[in-house]
Assembly symmetry: C2
Homo-oligomer: 384 residues x 2
């Protein structure tokens, strides 16, 4: 009887392993893969933190953009006071590497979810947002049962029109409800994120939007002060507006996320002259798998790139992305462009960094054309 | 010194566990989660296989739609001759559950990838597609080195204008190149998939497209026959056109994938009267996390739903999805619609099933409102 090796004996079943090895050249990376240009990441990180820290306020880097503890540790090393996440489960891999100050910039609703936050609060200084009394009671009961203290931020709508209350009366009621759970719940301040302002192209439009946000924040603070509540922290802001919140005199902390990666959307913003231009750090590497007279085809598609902010942009001169399907990207060239051949590797800039990273298990950190580190996207799929 | 429990001791770090338990009601499922209505899945499966098998040809179910071995085993049990995958690594979890006949309906380019296919061929009857001589040499060398035989299908462009040759001369050259690697490579037939025809809304348009595809196939077969090659298999087709390929007299095998799940796009096709109407099987379950005077917000967004074929559709009467961000879906209601409250759970139909499933680690199989089985999406992220 012949011995047939099992799948695991033969080294198969292992595609979750990193698609590269340290020290190899970029051409040796299996594709489709996401690569991070370390020089650009380090420059973006230093420049954005300098702007915010020079203004005298805190950077709480948003980890939803990268979901990667290796990047979060670099952000902490560069002076971040803590990180933000968007889901309770997303906090876990960051706590595991020792990051102890985490704000969930979102409502957390449901028994299993508040239970998760209360358990995490035994390991890290945890905060979350509320905009409804139901949330306060759910998290208050869980925090009491676990004997922990959780920071609660009242989320206010400063123009994004997603979550958050726009009523000062509601904000006061929320603060009063939070107080009834003291010391298990601590009223920590206001979450005041203007998401849609991040992608306004003109500096004047962004400045107007953040000025209006600051007015809303002040109105809320006045109502809360009048009701006897001090507001110690105002947090918000992102890669598109961080310099405005930093200089506002109203925000105490900003939450940039995309700045360490960038994508094909953010560079479309026109910048104020005193704001540093950030470089694209995140690229997708693909292989040409088919060449036809009219077009060529790459080996990554909708399962490797998020397209909610547009198609990825190929960085090979003369070539343009025309469409994506599940595992294919079709590209065409201008007349006179040198042809690509089957097996060529090409770089693309994803349309939107956050949901693109969430499709991958690994980020390949490269410098000078060589793989320097392999970073797991540990919070990939942490949607609970 | 106080003992602080580690993350793992306290049961944290575990969000990859299924967000439900068998026997629970749907309301007890943690969100956002994908649920599968088992009755609908079983009906779709039986009806599509009946149409194809009645026509006397084979069903090779496409597993890229679901990436889930539990579903593939049901497809095999319902008479599928094998499965298709779109990537070499995607085959592995299906081989691990004993599925032994797998066609990669794609070009496989690169040393690490052809090595993977050659290793898999020691465990399963493997096939792949080629449209370029470079691919034939890469896979031929790997198959010889591993002492395995691999089926090779020549992919032809039958109107989709993605991969595939449209030149009979190229097809003959490819068959000749494949023959030089005999017995390591076996020329198995033609891959002739008309992807864009799947989503043509009018039956007449789909019929014309597949009739044209059949003409292209016959032209290729004639050229190959003339050069001394017999063409034993012609494979292609999908959920939008499977009945046309089944009745064509040209195709020997069809490759439907989405039929077991369906999404918000396929029901927009008008059906021929003799083609069974398929039910939506796949739903996303979300929780209402915020309620404002003008809108409400759900706890799943771009990291839970693919939006390349449009926004998800909420199935609560009077409510409409207006926008998604990373972890939020905003919904609005018509005047007079009963309000939703924080904590309510709602169902949505994703715009495009394939890339949506690829965002999730689990499918929750439900029947009569109860969780019946928990299915891992084992090939999630298998993009290599």
């Amino acid at each position: 009887m012949t011995h047939h090796p099992s799948i695991s004996e033969s080294g198969l079943g292992s595609w979750h392993q990193a698609p590269a090895i340290v020290g190899a050249t970029i051409d040796a990376i299996d594709t489709p893969a996401l690569i991070i240009e370390l020089d650009a990441l380090e420059r973006n990180l230093a420049e954005v933190h300098a702007v915010i820290q020079t203004a005298g306020i805190a950077v709480r880097a948003h980890a939803k953009a990268h979901k990667c503890p290796d990047i979060a540790l670099r952000q902490m090393h560069a002076g971040a006071s803590g990180i933000c996440v968007q889901k309770a489960s997303e906090a876990e891999p960051f706590i595991e590497v020792g990051i102890k100050n985490i704000l969930i910039t979102n409502q957390v609703v449901g028994a299993r979810k508040v239970e998760r936050v209360a358990r995490l609060a035994a390991h890290a200084h945890m905060g979350l947002c509320v905009d409804n009394i139901v949330q306060v009671h759910q998290i208050g009961v869980a925090a009491r049962r676990h004997g922990v203290a959780i920071d609660v931020y009242i989320e206010i709508d400063v123009g994004h029109r997603r979550c958050g209350t726009s009523s000062p009366e509601t904000a006061v009621e929320l603060a009063q409800a939070i107080a009834t759970y003291s010391p298990a719940l601590v009223f920590a301040g206001l979450q005041a994120y203007h998401g849609s302002a991040q992608h306004m192209r003109a500096p004047a439009d962004r400045a107007l939007a953040i000025a209006a946000a600051c007015s809303r924040v002040k109105e809320m603070i006045a109502a809360l002060n009048k009701a006897g509540f001090s507001v110690d922290n105002v947090t918000g802001g992102g890669t598109g507006t961080y310099a405005l919140e930093a200089e506002s005199g109203v925000y105490t902390e900003v939450q940039p996320g995309s700045y360490v990666l960038m994508d094909n959307d953010y560079p479309k913003n026109t910048l104020d002259e005193d704001v540093p231009e950030l470089k694209n750090t995140l690229y997708a590497l693909c292989t040409v798998i088919s060449v036809c007279p009219t077009h060529a085809v790459l080996d990554g598609g909708l399962k490797s790139f998020a397209v909610d902010s547009g198609l990825p942009r190929i960085v090979v001169p003369g070539w343009t992305v025309t469409s994506l399907s599940d595992e294919h990207t079709t590209i065409v060239s201008e007349p006179g462009t040198p042809p690509l051949k089957v097996g060529d590797k090409v770089k693309l800039i994803p349309g939107h960094c956050d949901p693109t990273v969430n499709l991958h298990d690994w980020l390949i950190a490269v410098r000078n054309g060589k793989v320097e580190e392999l970073w797991p996207v540990s919070a990939r799929g942490a949607m609970f």
